[in-house]
């Protein structure tokens, strides 16, 4: 009785909104599941269980013949090279784009709150270019480049460079915008240039986040290069595609182990660097 009275006196103003949001989600999500033909029970169909079992049983004995291993090492190295080269090229484009886009570092808006019309326009253009770059999936870029320059790692490198330039630029700018502006702002107010305010104010504030995001993206680039390998952009993915088509479970298994190791290595590097910087 008592609690009921208390509830009446202090109705939670957010409650009704939360319930409505939940219902809205359910209403939207159900048709989404239907449209996407989400039927997990197909997995447990008699025939697919049999073939899956055979394929998976092969996984238990990863391929490790000397010939296969030397191929694996070579292809792994190529995959790492594709990811690293692609990401480096992406950063070459993303860093200047970030510097241009970050509103924090705007000298013209200092004291007025309004940016100069020209710099606002340039910012919009850069932002639009980045949207364009990342709105085309790397797989599509890879397909385009495979058509233009033929099969091989170059297509993969270019595809990663373009898509990731869009992603890195956007997220770098957002990391810089969301960090504490006090240091860079004060440097600007005291007459420092845009780039030196970036170097002495904004980067030390968010250096660790930038590094860890970059390494996470490197990890994504490795995975991305594998997927692109399936369309002929070189690296482990291309080999995996061949092994898959031959239902050689043991080879696929070895390659998957290599992926896990690569991602774990990226994670380790990120952790070490964060520790040093943070």
């Amino acid at each position: 009785m008592n609690t009921a009275v208390v509830q009446l006196r202090h109705p939670d103003p957010a409650w009704r909104g939360r319930v409505m949001l939940f219902i809205a989600f359910a209403v939207v999500l159900w048709p989404v599941l239907v449209i996407s033909e989400f039927k997990p029970w197909i997995l447990f169909d008699q025939q697919s269980i049999m073939s899956t079992a055979r394929f998976l049983a092969d996984f238990l004995t990863p391929a490790h013949s000397a010939e296969f291993m030397s191929m694996l090492v070579e292809q792994t190295w190529q995959t790492i090279a594709i990811a690293s080269a692609g990401l480096s090229l992406a950063m070459l484009g993303a860093i200047p784009a970030t510097v241009i886009m970050t509103q924090r570092l705007s000298v013209s808006s200092l004291g007025t709150g309004r940016m100069h019309a020209l710099s606002a326009f340039v910012r919009h253009v850069v932002r639009a270019v980045l949207v364009l770059l990342r709105s085309v999936p790397e797989l599509v870029w890879a397909l385009i480049f495979v058509r233009i320059i033929g099969l091989g790692p170059t297509a993969g490198v270019l595809a990663i460079a373009l898509t990731y330039c869009g992603m890195l630029g956007k997220v770098y700018a957002e990391i810089l915008e969301s960090s504490d502006a006090h240091a860079s702002d004060t440097l600007l107010r005291n007459g420092a240039s845009r780039l030196s305010a970036l170097l002495y104010g904004a980067l030390p504030e968010s250096g660790a986040e930038l590094v860890s995001y970059t390494i996470y993206r490197w990890e994504c680039a490795i995975r991305g290069s594998v997927v692109m390998g399936f369309v002929g952009a070189g690296g482990l993915g291309q080999r995996m595609d061949e092994s898959m088509k031959m239902l050689a479970g043991s080879e696929v298994s070895s390659m998957l182990i290599v992926f896990v190791l690569l991602v774990a290595a990226a994670d380790l590097v990120s952790k070490i660097l964060r520790k040093r910087l943070g």
Binding site: G111, H182, L187, N190, S196
Partner: protein
């Protein structure tokens, strides 16, 4: 027009000349102006303290003086120039001649003290010099000297996040010593310091300003320290200047009225309060 040319010819001698200056915060247009019809002239090399209760507009005034807040109306001259009619790059060059030390020390926690202090030189440095100094500090000796004037010499290579609040505040002021500014604008330099360090800090600031013949404008909560150290006191209340006097002419009644909500025109407080006023003010702050 004649007024403007008058003031600018007169202003060549002045570090700052503010005539009927009204400043409004950028975020809310509807709010009353943060500073209202401010009238203030500051000669080069002059030292003055700005006092007043919280929210009086002290920080906004410093932001305006450091060219990081554009006034809404009125006349504003810095070293005889009208900063807001200059080109953007000329205005930014002018900013390098002013130094604003904000109340919260603007030091990135993961930066080393030496880098944070040397950042004062950025307006003079080329980008290349700035980059190299990130790897090998350009002038650690100068940074050490600045720090040791605030008893912080041993923190030269520490990281900023290893410093205490008071050490960070003094580290921010050590940066001021390395700038080559001709006007030093310091916001609440003592808010995290104990009385002994407060004395040292104010004395260091004043000596530095005197040595390089720079203008020193300092906002202070500690009225007793302001009166003890600064020859000229400007009192702000609700965005208006209440008084602007040599310290000899500032009375306890004026201070009391400034802080205790009595309009200046109303009668002075009872006699026995007069004696306690500075103590009471110091106590509640």
């Amino acid at each position: 027009m004649s007024v403007s040319s008058n003031t600018s010819s007169g202003a060549t001698a002045l570090a700052y000349d503010l005539q009927a200056l009204t400043v409004r915060h950028l975020a809310d247009d509807a709010a009353p102006p943060a500073l209202h019809e401010i009238q203030l002239s500051v000669a080069p090399g002059e030292h003055l303290a700005i006092i007043g209760p919280s929210g009086a507009g002290k920080t906004t005034l410093l932001a305006t003086l450091s060219l990081s807040q554009r006034p809404e109306s009125g006349q504003f001259h810095v070293f005889g120039q009208e900063p807001w009619s200059l080109s953007q790059s000329a205005r930014h060059k002018l900013r390098a001649r002013l130094f604003l030390a904000p109340q919260t020390p603007p030091l990135p926690p993961r930066q080393r003290v030496v880098t944070a202090v040397l950042a004062a030189r950025l307006p003079q440095w080329s980008l290349w010099r700035a980059l190299v100094s990130l790897i090998k500090p350009a002038d650690p000796e100068a940074a050490w000297q600045a720090l040791s004037r605030f008893n912080l010499g041993d923190k030269l290579y520490s990281r900023v996040d290893r410093l205490s609040g008071g050490e960070r505040q003094r580290c921010g002021l050590a940066r001021l010593l390395l700038s080559s500014a001709e006007a030093l604008l310091v916001d609440e330099p003592l808010s995290a310091l104990d009385p002994a360090l407060s004395e040292l800090t104010i004395a260091t600031l004043r000596r530095e300003a005197a040595e390089r013949k720079a203008t020193l404008i300092c906002t202070l909560h500690q009225v007793d320290l302001a009166l003890a150290h600064f020859p000229r006191i400007v009192a702000l209340r609700k965005g208006r200047i209440v008084f602007d006097l040599p310290r000899e002419q500032v009375t306890a009644e004026m201070i009391d009225a400034l802080y205790h909500g009595e309009p200046r025109s109303s009668k002075p407080l009872p006699k026995h309060d007069e004696h306690q006023a500075p103590l009471a003010v110091g106590g509640c702050l």
